[in-house]
Amino acid sequence: MSQAPFGRRLLRVTSTDELGAYRVLRVADPHGPKPRAGQFAMLAAAEHWGGGREQRPYLPRAFSIARHSGGEAHFLLEDVGPGTKRLCELEAGDRLWALGPLGRGFTAPPEDLRAILVGGGVGIAPLAILQDAIAAPVTVLLGFRDRAHAQGATLLDSARVATDDGSVGHRGLVTELLASEIERDPCAVVYACGPAGMLEGVRALCARTGTPAQLALEAGMACGFGACFGCAVPRRGGGYLRVCLDGPVFDAGELERIDEHAGLSEVGQPV
């Protein structure tokens, strides 16, 4: 793993953009190490973090590094609660605290296997930097709830899109696209990130078809660097793994059934 500098650092927002239902935040990080695809950072706004009626956020929040170039880290944000709301409010020039890059990223596919990137909602973020990192062409399958969210697909190249409401691309689940892709050409390795339901669909499908898969999980996190043991997900065969330290990317075989707390939760659908 790329080692993170010890201690959080104060970074400056260089630009922010709307991307459909999402927000893209670009942050100058001249001295930060280059992240591996799948790594994440813990972010907190430097000003006005917390307060208000619910007196949250207090802790920093985890975000996949969606892209890294020219000393800038890009993040894709979805406003689902007080922390993401505050980060989505940031404007160029504002500052935020960042710790990272953190966690274990994706492992590049073997030469002879085609990579299929499967993303759901804001879970497409780590797939963008993964696509940047893989020299060979990859298959990109992205699922969204509706047209506004589907605009996120432009973050990646040549994505095929599924939407729940059929407003863009395939009407239905992105796992349906994946199933037919694997059927068409089973010599593939799958990289997936998204809601728990989608990840469980991917995991079950890949287990059934014997397709290797790397899954990027989510979990509520307090620290992001293995200190709190809060981000546990069940390990296949018993015990727990720490998502921030042992993941967020896991080989599908390391995991049990993926439950509701381990995927990127859907907006407005608090688990």
Binding site: F6, G50, F229, G230, A232, R242, L245
Partner: protein, 303 residues
């Protein structure tokens, strides 16, 4: 700023709260360089039990107003593997508080928990044999494990247990008190009477959260462990009151903790009588929080 505590020589008064900093994980994440620039003057391990524990089912965390509720459930590899695998990795840590390169050793304090005097005795005996361990902290206060609460909340029982196990180690014995009690100073005195060399407090306050879904009736607890413990700024004023009450009533040194986020907060605990101050939840916001606080204390500034 060097401090003597139970015969140990510490570089500064800031240590970590048990279970809030995993040094081995930190070496993996931040590199081995951390070993020579450790943020804490002593390193307190997560609670170790005789047998391995997986911990509580997720979710384990809930963010509260100005605080955190955890229901981690004391996952640990058990005494045997801790001594075998972890101890070697935890030796040779040092800290460099002034940044001037005059680094100082970081003693290891092993935190242990057992459900009765017999279990605790075995834990203390095993730790006693290991030179890597400089002191032992006895957790009688974890709100997630039934017996931990009961022993620590009742002064009589607490004194009996401490007295019963005290002879098993010649190393300094710190008793970590529970804050979930009617009169924490009485418990601290009981620990002292039983033979503790120091007391530490506060552990987390018993707390609860419900799953945030008004539509999914019936309501259900959010945490896999049902209840959890509250830490962070929300509890700081409670910690200050308890540390002050304890320090006024015992002769042994006190390790104060609870919601410390700045050198000013650490200074307040010292002002009411703490010898050392532990930083817990604040490390989650910034792993270098301990180092920043120690440096600011050292400089006499108050950020």
């Amino acid at each position: 700023m060097s401090i003597r505590f139970c015969g140990l020589e510490l570089a500064h008064p800031i240590i970590n709260g048990s279970g809030t900093f995993d040094a081995i994980a930190a070496f993996r994440v931040f590199g081995e360089g951390l070993r020579g620039a450790f943020p804490f003057a002593a390193y307190v391990s997560k609670t170790i039990t005789l047998e391995p524990r997986a911990g509580n089912p997720p979710p384990r965390l809930w963010e509260a107003p100005a605080g955190l509720i955890n229901s981690i459930g004391l996952p640990n590899k058990g005494l045997g593997d801790y001594l075998l695998e972890d101890l070697p990795l935890l030796a040779d840590m040092s800290t460099d508080p002034s940044g001037a390169g005059d680094s100082q050793a970081v003693p290891l304090i092993t935190n242990v928990m057992g459900s009765n005097a017999e279990e605790i005795s075995r834990l203390l005996e095993a730790c006693d044999e290991r030179p890597e361990i400089s002191a032992i902290e006895l957790n009688v206060s974890c709100p997630n494990v039934h017996t931990g609460l009961d022993i620590g909340a009742d002064p009589r029982q607490l004194e009996q247990v401490v007295r019963a196990v005290r002879g098993r180690t010649g190393k300094p014995l710190i008793v970590k008190l529970t804050p979930n009690t009617a009169d924490v100073a009485l418990c601290a005195r009981a620990a002292q009477e039983g033979g503790a060399d120091a007391v530490s407090l506060i552990n987390t306050l018993r707390a609860m959260a419900l799953a945030p879904n008004p539509l999914s009736r019936p309501p259900r607890p959010w945490l896999g462990g049902v209840t959890g413990g509250l830490s962070g700024p929300a509890v700081r004023a409670v910690a200050l009151a308890q540390v002050a009450a304890v320090a006024a009533r015992v002769a042994i040194p006190v390790i104060g903790m609870g919601g410390v986020q700045s050198a000013a907060h650490a200074r307040e605990l010292i002002d009411v009588g703490a010898t050392l101050v532990a930083v817990g939840t604040a490390s989650f916001l910034d792993p270098a929080a301990g180092a920043r606080i120690a440096a600011a204390l050292h400089a006499g500034t108050a950020p």
